[in-house]
Each structure stands twice: as C-alpha cells, then as structure tokens.
C-alpha cells in the first residue's frame, strides 16, 4: 500500500471514529434526558396521588425552608448592599444616582434573589438530598422500603419535591425584603440618601409582576434542585465514589438548569415569547 493510500485510509478511519463518538454521545444524551423525564413524571404523579406523608413533608419543609434561611438571607443582604454601591459608582458618572433604588429593587426581585437563592439552595439542599438518597441506595435502604410495602417515590421523593417547590418562593420573598433592605442600609448610611426619597423611589417603579415573576422562577428552581438531588441520589452508583459523584452531579446539573431555565422564564415573563 502506498503512503498516500495509507494516509487516506487513516483519515477515513479517524472521521468514522469521530462520527461514532458523536453518535454515541448523542444517543447517551437523549437516553439520559428520557430517563430524567420518566423519573420526573413518576415523581410528579406521586406528589398528587394519595397517600401523602404529612410528617415527612413537614420535616422537609423545615429542612429545606427554615434551615436555608440564614444562607439565603446573608446572600441577598450582601448582594443588595453591593448592588447599591456598584450602581452608585456607575450611575454617578452620568448623574443618575436617583435610579439606584429602582435598580436595586428590580434587580433583586426579578433576578438576583431567585437565581442566587436557587444556586445557594442547590449547594445546600440539592447536595444533601443526593448524598442522603444515594447512601440509602447503596446501603439497600431503598430496597428495604419496597419490601416494607412503601413506595420510595412516595416516601422519599414526593415530600422533597413538594417542599422544594413550595419553600423556595417563600425564601425568595424573604430574600427580596432582605436584599432591598441591604441596598437601603448602604444607600442611607454610606451614600447619604434621604430615607423617604429612597423608599419612595423603591416603590415608584415596582410592579406586582416583578415580584410574582421572581416567585414563579423560585418555584421552578426549587423543583429543579430537589428533582436533580433526588434523581442523582436515586440512581447513585455503588460505594463512596458513587455517592460523591451523585452529589457533584446534582449540584452541577441543577445549577446549570437554573441558569438556562432562568433565561427562558425571563423571556416568557418580560417579552411574552
């Protein structure tokens, strides 16, 4: 075989290899999406079909909602404070300091509070759900549930999904108030604004939809975080490495999905498309 023929042959081989890899990756991606969709459908069904376990739901409401409050509160407080400082330093260049209060309240309610709360809860709650359910998977506790006539979807997944979807909007509403308060404190005590004027500007351009869109986003993010935590934990591989990978995947996938869905929700709410 001549050198030129060999070269053509190896190039064809290389091209086929790339196509094969691309094909395999595409198939694996769609298979994963299918598995996740099936898991989500099954989970949602069990959120509505009786029986609901009130004790478990209450425990998750407290765990996901109440215990995430310090993290979300601190995040939104400092974000509101930084936002006021940054807006001041930027807006003072073209004498638009009067818009700071509006910028703070709109940024916090529409974007920063839901997205940052979602990401913080993904780190705190999503990781812990994946680790807990993953450990239950590898120690056969999920199989044990089945043998004790208890559906794991109903007992483990549904309470977490319901709690996540309900509690994140509540956290974001509190985060909205704390974030706006952070901006107010910096503006009044550090930047020398007059309280009455600042509060008036805060309310002046705020519309109901600004807050409501943030709460809808929060509900979506809460669902995403708990779903990804449950999904990765439930399908965890064996051993400590498997649980570790499930935890990482839960946080990474929910964070990415939060950012992607945030774009589409924003487009839906504010452009109507």
């Amino acid at each position: 075989m001549s050198g030129a023929e060999e070269k053509t042959f190896s190039m064809t081989d290389g091209f086929t290899g790339v196509l094969q890899t691309l094909g395999k990756t595409t198939l694996a991606f769609f298979a994963a999406v299918g598995r996740l969709a099936q898991f989500a459908g099954h989970s949602i069904y069990h959120c509505f079909a009786p029986p609901i376990f009130p004790r478990l739901l209450l425990r998750q409401l407290i765990n996901i909602g109440f215990y995430s409050l310090p993290v979300v509160g601190l995040t939104t407080l400092f974000t509101g404070m930084v936002l006021a400082l940054q807006s001041y330093s930027g807006f003072s260049r073209f004498s638009a300091e009067g818009a700071i209060a509006t910028v703070v309240v709109l940024s916090i309610t529409r974007e920063l509070s839901p997205v940052l709360a979602g990401l913080m809860v993904a780190g705190r709650v999503g990781a812990s759900i994946a680790a807990e359910i993953g450990t239950m998977r590898v120690t056969e506790q999920i199989d044990a549930l089945t043998t004790l006539s208890t559906n794991p979807f109903k007992y483990l997944i549904a309470p977490r999904l319901i709690a996540g979807t309900l509690m994140l909007p509540a956290l974001v509403l509190i985060g909205d108030i704390i974030g706006v308060f952070g901006g107010y404190v910096v503006s009044i005590y550090s930047l020398g604004f007059i309280p009455e004027n600042y509060l008036h500007k805060t309310w002046e351009y705020l519309e109901r939809m600004d807050v409501i869109s943030g709460l809808w986003k929060a509900a979506t993010f809460g669902f995403i975080v708990t779903l990804m935590g449950c999904y990765h934990g439930f399908n965890s591989d064996r051993g400590a490495q498997g649980v570790g990978a499930a935890t990482t995947n839960a946080v990474v996938s929910s964070s990415i999905l939060i950012l992607i869905s945030n774009y589409f929700l924003t487009q839906l709410f504010f452009t109507g498309k």
Binding site: Q141, D143, T146, T147, N151
Partner: protein, 255 residues
Amino acid sequence: MGAVPKLELKGVYKSFGSNHVLRGIDIAIEKGKSLVVIGGSGTGKSVMIKSVLGIVHPDKGSIKVDGQETTKLKPRERDFFMKKFGMLFQGGALFDSLAVWENVAFGLIQGKAMDRKEAKNIAIEKLRSVGLSPRVADLFPAELSGGMQKRVGLARAVAASPEIIFFDEPTTGLDPIMADVINDLIVSASKELGATTLSITHDMASARKIADNIAMIYKGQIIWHGPAKDIDHSGNEYVDQFIRGRAEGPIKMET
C-alpha cells in the same frame, strides 16, 4: 397432585447488559419450609431474591406466590403481595434517620396504617423476642453494634407477621457466636410465624442450621437441590467443593 408451592420460580432469566446473571432458575418451596440457596459471590443469589421481591424485573420466566403469577403485576397489586413478604438484608438496611423502634414498626405504620403507640408496643415486644431490651428502642441504628443491627433487622423483617421471609446472607460479618444466635433466632421466628423462608448464604454452618432443603446456585442456574441432610453426600462435585471450601475443583476463581 401435590399442594401448590408457596413460592415457585420457573425458568427465570436476568441479564445486565452482557452479564447474564440468572440463566433459568427453577426452585419451589412448600408452605412452612425453609430453603437455603448456597453459592459463591456473584453467582446470582441476591438478584434471584430481588427478582421475587420485584426490585429487579426478570427478563423471562415465571415467579408464582401461592400459585399466582407475580412478574406482570401492576404496582398496586404488587403492594398487596409485598405485605406477604419480609426481608432481612445483608447489611441490615436499617433507616438511619429513624429510631430503632420506628425501624421495627415501619411496616406496621406505613404498610398497615397502625397507630404509632400500638406499633411501638409491638416493636418493643419484637425487639425483646430477638434478645434486645426496651432501652434499645429509642436509640438510633448508628449507636448499635453489627450484631444488634442484624437483630433489629430481623425484628423488622418479622414484625408485620409475613408469610414468606427472605434472609440475605444473615450471618455475614458476624462472629461465630453471634452468627449462631442469629441462626437460632431465624429458626425460632420462622417456626413461630409458620413462615416459608428463602435464605441465601455461603455460610455452611448457617445453612445446615436453618435449612429444610438446600439448593446450590452456580453461574445463574440451580445445579443441585435436595434435603439439608443429603448435602454431605450429594454426589455433585461442585457442591462438594463448595461445602468443603476447597480451592481445587470444578469451580474456578473468576478472573
């Protein structure tokens, strides 16, 4: 015609990708009898039990409980069947977020919707029957030794008075004395309930103690079965090698 077996598996196959774990399992257990399936690691013992429990779905074959086919049951119908089963897991599989008594009473509270107070009393009674004092009831599983966890697992398996009990490697990881205690408890609990039992183990002392009949599984198939008393003169070289624990013989170490 003989009585309908309590549990019957016929031609059960299960593969995970190219790994053919079960290759046509055939076993039958009469009501109230105890069958122990022996076999090395990775021969398909756990998958066989999980197939009966519906945790793993067999690719082919029939699994009948009281003569009724269970492989094609809908989830709700399966829930009904699950009430007939109890299982002791190899590692105990106790719920570590729940107190010991809640673990034991789990099947009563969740499965049978029993009042918590009444369920706790039964749980304490069951714990006593496996030699654990009532003060253990309020502890958490992580506070117990391996042997105690196994006994709690046994108490949980029998708490809802199941008709069929599965024991997955009941003595693995226990010292010989504790292993014998567990074996005695298994025998007494099963007799008391009149339950049919299916155990899997590679501990021959345990198998001899708890079995009415023994079957040996090798490469996903039952290669010998018979009364427990015949195990020492089975005439099967695979069984002989296994029960004598010899490295030489037809069973080769997997590479």
